[in-house]
């Protein structure tokens, strides 16, 4: 596979950023939901 | 809440940079009253006046001014309210005459109202041609008051109006306030000069830590 370096870089960056954002969002969601009472969570 | 009360706040909360400047204010002011608002610095006097003028959102409790519910719409009340804040709202590079004429044009006041307001505040004649930036604090205050007088507002909100004025200037302000109240306006004055303001006011309200304490 020629240009392998570039292609791996694109996949690495894109999936890396996505996974990073997902983990960050989940952790942020968990931390916040501990400090907020249930009544303030419209989705529950 | 009597029908014609001009201001009616019940447990109103207003926040300034995250700090509850008004922490549950309950206050009712009737037409033609001259209410003295006193209290230590930082008690929320200026914030209360700005909230009444619709400049700041009231985020809790209820707040009605001249029949408008400020929590829903705080812009339509402004045409009928006049606020003299710490700042004069003037343009330093312009002369007194130009400032007063600008303000009377944008609020739709007539030329006679403009000239009479300037005479009343003793800023007409030669003084009128001087630039506001060259004036003393008292003269600037008088010019700001003239710009307020031409507004013919139904509710006057004055924040430390006497500050920086000489005795003659203060008498003139008291006369204007009494006259405005006599002609149907309602006035709320926030002031530290208690004895002078007390002769002027029909009622005194003290504001401590963002709430109205007692009012006689």
């Amino acid at each position: 596979m020629n240009h392998a370096g570039f292609i791996i870089a694109v996949y690495g960056i894109t999936f890396g950023v996505i996974i990073g954002l997902v983990v960050y969002t989940i952790r942020q969601g968990r931390n916040l939901s501990r400090t907020v009472a249930d009544k303030d969570k419209p989705w529950t | 809440m009597s029908a014609h009360s001009v201001i009616n706040f019940v447990d109103a909360v207003a926040v300034y940079n995250g700090y509850p400047a008004l922490a549950g204010v309950t206050l009712s002011v009737e037409r033609n009253e001259i209410v003295l608002l006193q209290g230590p610095n930082g008690a929320g006097k200026s914030t209360l006046l700005r909230a009444c003028a619709g400049l700041m959102p009231v985020i809790r409790g209820t707040a009605h001014v001249l029949g408008y519910d400020l929590t829903v719409d705080r812009e339509s009340v402004r045409e009928r309210v006049g606020l003299l804040g710490h700042q004069n709202g003037l343009f330093g590079e312009l002369t007194i005459a130009e400032n007063v004429s600008f303000w009377s044009t944008v609020v739709g006041a007539s030329a006679e109202e403009r000239t009479s307001a300037m005479e009343r505040m003793a800023i007409d004649g030669k003084l009128a041609e001087r630039r506001v930036s060259e004036l003393s604090a008292g003269q600037k205050r008088r010019c700001a008051l003239a710009c307020l007088v031409v507004r013919r507002a139904e509710l006057w909100l004055l924040d430390e109006p006497h500050a920086g004025l000489d005795a003659k200037g203060r008498d003139e302000i008291d006369r204007i306030v009494k006259e405005a109240a006599a002609s149907g306006a309602t006035v709320v004055v926030a002031s530290h000069e208690i004895e002078r303001a007390q002769q002027l006011a029909t009622r005194t309200v003290s504001l401590i830590a963002g709430q109205v304490r007692e009012s006689q």
Binding site: - | L55, V81, F91, E93, L94, V106
Partner: protein
């Protein structure tokens, strides 16, 4: 309602321009700055053919840099002594304020641009003649109208609380990108630089006119809520 809007607009425009005549900020500070920028371009590019070729772009770049200063100045006048709050408290129609301030900014920009174009002719040995002048004048009028509306609109937002001044370039630069592109292309046609004919400039002026119309209308609708606290 619109009668009082135009009365307010005239009063605000007259007030702004009179303050400018008295304080001379544009003529004593912004104009020398933009002239200096033109000279610095000449130092940077130091090749007469290149300079002549890109003169159109340089004039509009210098105008954009000056636009930030003019917008900051025009709203500093309002917020210095709380005049903007007083205007809001008096329930003055925001559309009138928007039109008035835009017109004042429009006039100041025109003064600035005329000096810059003279500098371009002198410094970059650019020549404009015949139909080129007609194209140039129309392009300048449309582009300046667009810049004045957009500058007043986003300037209104950043005039509010502190710490908002740095927001103005971030918000304004992307918005004025089309004006920079179109005005430069139209000006290059007017200068006939790089073999471009005058006729090719007119479509660009069309886009500039659309830009000015779109942001004139957008500004009228949204200026009121942008200056709100």
């Amino acid at each position: 309602m619109s009668m009082s809007t135009s009365r307010i607009a005239r009063a605000v425009a007259a007030k702004d321009l009179r303050i400018e005549l008295r304080s001379r900020v544009v003529t004593n500070q912004v104009l020398p700055f933009s002239g200096l920028v033109m000279v610095m371009f000449a130092f940077a590019l130091d090749n007469d053919d290149v300079l002549q070729r890109v003169a159109g772009g340089l004039v509009w770049l210098a105008t954009l840099f000056s636009l930030f200063m003019l917008v900051q100045r025009t709203f500093a006048v309002e917020t210095y002594d709380g005049a903007l709050d007083s205007l809001r408290v008096a329930g003055v129609n925001p559309q009138g304020i928007f039109l008035g301030k835009s017109f004042a900014l429009f006039v100041q920009l025109l003064v600035l641009e005329s000096v810059l174009f003279v500098a371009a002719v002198v410094l970059y040995r650019v020549n404009v003649n015949g139909s080129g002048v007609v194209l140039l004048v129309t392009c300048v009028l449309c582009a300046t109208a667009g810049l004045a509306f957009v500058g007043t609109l986003y300037g209104g937002l950043t005039a509010g609380a502190r710490g908002r001044e740095t927001l103005l370039p971030l918000l304004l630069l992307p918005v004025v990108a089309p004006v920079l592109i179109c005005a430069t292309r139209a000006t290059e046609s007017a200068f006939r630089s790089g073999g471009v004919t005058v006729g090719e400039g007119w479509p660009w002026v069309g886009v500039l006119a659309v830009f000015a119309a779109v942001f004139g209308l957008g500004g009228l609708l949204s200026f009121g809520s942008l200056i709100e606290e």
